[in-house]
């Protein structure tokens, strides 16, 4: 890798009471890549992701975005810094429309008198942009931008959540188990979507348990074990069973893959 990583973490530590969730964990994400994070349950990968997305504070360690140290106090601050997260739960409001959901928390106000004094929303602009973003990702089979999210299928909802992240994430997009709740057909659609987003140059962190999916789309795979990064492997050089063996401790990773 010649380029500098966009997002790094060094020596992250997080305790929950006497449980050590992160034990000197490191992390590197390079521009334009899909980095998969895999690990057994309890390995601490979701704590790692929460630390990066601002949902928790690490007790120790340092996170840098574009080389600058950052200290997020909430997911909101992470978002403002350009890190968008697509949560496993999607964090959509089912009763609100697609457009409302995409702009939730960062609505566009009308310019001029109505916007300034009556804080009126610029619905046309919001709907227009939402439509653009969705068609960018080839999701415009969704006909009605003002239809409630709860009337969409699981894949469509995932699409809306990804589109929201892609529309606003300027630096990094984190996706937590994006295919876990989906059927085969819908998973395929979402995987294509992920690659689509990456092809625009947006780096993606993908947390998944689904090895075929990980091996299909990831450029590099970060294997997390016992609260720290065990190794980073290239999916072209290893098989899925290797990855699972590293993850579970059944096999030692080769020296060159070991984390620095």
């Amino acid at each position: 890798m010649s380029t500098e990583p966009i997002l790094t973490a060094r020596g992250l530590v997080k305790h929950y009471g006497r449980v050590v969730a992160l034990n000197q964990a490191d992390f590197d994400l390079y521009p334009g890549e899909i980095l998969a994070v895999i690990g057994d349950n309890g390995a601490g990968k979701s704590t790692l992701i929460k630390a990066i997305s601002g949902a928790i504070h690490p007790d120790e360690g340092e996170i840098r975005l574009d080389g600058e140290p950052i200290h997020f106090r909430s997911p909101l601050e992470a978002r403002e810094a350009g890190i968008e997260t697509v949560y496993q739960t999607l964090a959509l409001s089912p009763a609100l429309s697609i457009a409302d959901n995409m702009f939730l928390g960062r609505e566009i106000r009308k310019s001029g008198f109505m916007g300034r004094w009556f804080r009126s929303l610029d619905r046309e602009a919001m709907e227009r942009i939402a439509r653009e973003k969705l068609s960018d990702l080839g999701l415009m089979t969704i006909q009605n931008i003002s239809q409630a999210v709860e009337t969409l299928s699981g894949g469509q909802r995932q699409g809306v959540a990804v589109a929201r992240a892609a529309a606003f994430g300027s630096k990094v997009i984190i996706m937590d188990e994006p295919t876990a709740a989906l059927g085969v057909k819908e998973s395929r659609r979402v995987l294509d979507l992920i690659q689509d987003v990456r092809s625009r140059g947006m780096p993606i962190v993908l947390i998944s348990h689904n090895m075929p999916h990980v091996f299909e789309v990831a450029d590099r795979i970060h294997v997390h074990r016992l609260g720290r990064r065990l190794c980073v492997i290239d999916p072209k050089d290893y098989t899925m069973s290797d990855a699972v063996a590293f993850m579970t401790g059944a096999k030692e990773p080769p020296a060159e893959a070991l984390a620095a």
Binding site: A91, S93, A95, L104, T141, T151, L191, E216
Partner: protein
Amino acid sequence: MSEAGGAARGKQEFEDGLEKGDASVAAFESHEKTVLDRLQHFLHGNPTMVPVIVLLLSIAVFGFVAGGNFFSAFNLSLVMQQVSIIGILAAAQSLVILTAGIDLSVGASMVLVSVIMGNLAVKMGFPAPLAIGVGFVCGMLAGTLNGFLVTRVKLPPFIVTLGTWNIFFALNLWLSGAQSIRSQDIDATAPLLKWFGESIRIGGAQFTYGSILMVLIFAVLWYVLNRTAWGRHVYAVGDDKEAAELSGIRTNRTLVQVYAVAGLVCAIGAWASIGRVGSVSPQSFQEANLQSITAVVIGGISLFGGRGSIVGPLVGALIVGVFNSGLRLAGVDVLWQVFAIGWLTIIAVALDQWIRKVSA
């Protein structure tokens, strides 16, 4: 960086079967629907239609049953006067219920504020505008207290407002000594307190400022809920608080604001209630909190939060008023009016549940 994206690696074997399948994963659904399905979908998209239909139907039926006395412009405007205070409280209640909360204290805080206004202006001789202003501030504080307890102390809204209901009620007794301030004394010292009791006549109809105020409050809230970011946040918080938080909404701040605004609306209702009742009456509106919930529920706002239009509770309050007026003019005993409203409420909630089951 490797250039081999997943697309280049291609699909996985087990997915071959997909080729023959329907490729329209994300396409909008279009399989056969029954009439009932369509109705369910329509109502899901237009939740206010149910109460509007019920209102129009009930006006028509009572116009037929109870005759001209009922169907006069005067009587219909009278119904509006009669429901104006409950309607205003229902507006406040709707805000809270949209956030999946409930406010049992709306009636008590309204009566408390009216007693504060009356005490200041009539008994203590402060200028009426000041008394009203202080009342508004007290209403907002009462609401903020609810909001604080719900968000910071993390108690369920039902428990919080059950508590504050009692607290406001006790304060009301303490401040008023359970005695009304007479209409004539208000006229003599602070007639402004009764301003909302004034009316304008249009044809046979008589609209008090209070009933116009009720409509105005609903109009303003409609705008705020549908045309401002804050309004969207209120819905999002009620729909799924966690999702709203993760979407970057400061949910607790929004909640406190909702309770504070509800308190302010109650305080405005307090001023209007003095005009409606004529006196400052610490004993009136004992059931107002439950009546406001009834109006909200009949109006099609879901008690589970995040769903329903603010116009619904206005229509809901009017339905209750029309039922009461119609049944009374038809000479039906009071207890059957209570009976009818009870069924109406249950049917409204059942309908809401059914509409919510809509799926893609």
